[in-house]
């Protein structure tokens, strides 16, 4: 095998590290995307027995956005195994306890239910905020596009930008804008 071919093989089978910013993203839709990267189905060389999944580093998991009434309505079930050991935790309670768990459980439940699942989950690194340890940061080599762009809030625009924004009509001078 020539040197070029050898490097080509390293490049093909090397593990990539991807960054995913979960800010204001739906964790359940994001899980579909992340699942592809940690199980390797985003590569044409994919095979179920070929361990070609990549690492995904999820940041800002504290700032995820659940759709609709999901914070109050979504319930996570746990049973200790003893009589009366059942417990139901609402999504907002779980998120308060550990801000990475909603994303972790979303990805875990989207993965195929087989013996490879734990190994794939080991390739998922979730951080509540945007502070990532250097040992992980130096591996990063790619980024997964966010599902939706984070919109800019009105109070984050400068006064000049708001004033120069094109208007359809002008208010009458004696019109009082209610606050």
């Amino acid at each position: 095998m020539s040197a070029i071919r050898r490097v080509q093989q390293w490049a093909t089978f090397g593990r990539m590290w991807y960054l995913y910013d979960a800010k204001w993203q739906n964790p359940f839709d994001s899980a579909d995307k992340i699942k592809e990267y940690i199980s390797g189905t985003h590569k044409p060389i994919y095979h179920p027995l070929n361990d070609c999944g990549d690492h995904v580093v999820v940041i800002n998991s504290r700032h995820i956005a659940l759709p609709g009434m999901e914070w109050e309505r979504r319930v996570y079930f746990h049973h200790t195994g003893y009589p009366g050991g059942a417990s139901w935790t609402l999504a907002w309670e779980l998120h308060r306890k550990d801000p990475t768990l909603v994303v972790r459980k979303a990805v875990y439940s989207k993965l195929d239910k087989n013996l490879l699942r734990r190994g794939k989950m080991a390739r998922l690194h979730i951080f509540a905020d945007d502070e990532v340890p250097n040992s992980i940061l130096e591996n990063l080599s790619g980024q997964i596009r966010q599902l939706r762009a984070v919109p800019k809030r009105l109070d984050h625009y400068t006064d000049e930008e708001i004033k120069s924004f094109p208007r359809i009509f002008d208010w009458p001078k004696d019109y009082v804008i209610p606050n």
Partner: protein, 145 residues
């Protein structure tokens, strides 16, 4: 004792009970426990295994098709496409490549696959589908000439 010669094979079909059983036990040689050597148990599991392999011949075709779809979709994703869109264009333009060939191109000839992806984008742009700009660079369509 394996049936190695035509003589033994002919004997295994005849009245010789020992060689008749060898034919079944040869198929159960890799089984675990009594299924391997006891004929009464082995014959049952050999029938079971053979019926599985009959069904698997159909399942294998389905599984390969799913795998090829996954691979082609992965190749298309790199160019912001998906196979459903590419399939329609390839059919329209008369590119008669099946899934097996397409996934092979995606793995071994990424530049050929890229050309097909660009063709898909160009054709869609020509029809005014999925594109706000014109066709991607590097593609010459009939309308341009």
């Amino acid at each position: 004792m394996v049936i190695t010669s035509p003589t033994l094979f002919a004997r295994s079909r005849g009245p010789d009970r020992f060689w008749k059983r060898r034919r079944i036990l040869a198929l159960s040689a890799h089984f675990y426990g009594r299924k391997q050597n006891c004929f009464r148990v082995a014959i049952r599991s050999v029938h079971r295994a053979l019926s599985f392999s009959t069904k698997a011949r159909a399942l294998k075709k389905r599984d390969m098709r799913i795998l090829w779809n996954t691979r082609i979709n992965a190749g298309c994703e790199e160019f912001g496409l998906n196979f459903d869109r590419m399939k329609i264009v390839l059919d329209d333009t008369g590119v008669a490549l099946d899934r097996k060939v397409l996934q092979n191109l995606a793995i071994w000839e990424p530049r050929s696959f890229r050309a097909l992806a660009m063709l898909t984008r160009a054709k869609e742009a020509e029809q005014g589908l999925n594109s706000l700009q014109g066709p991607p660079p590097g593609v010459v369509t009939r309308g341009m000439l």
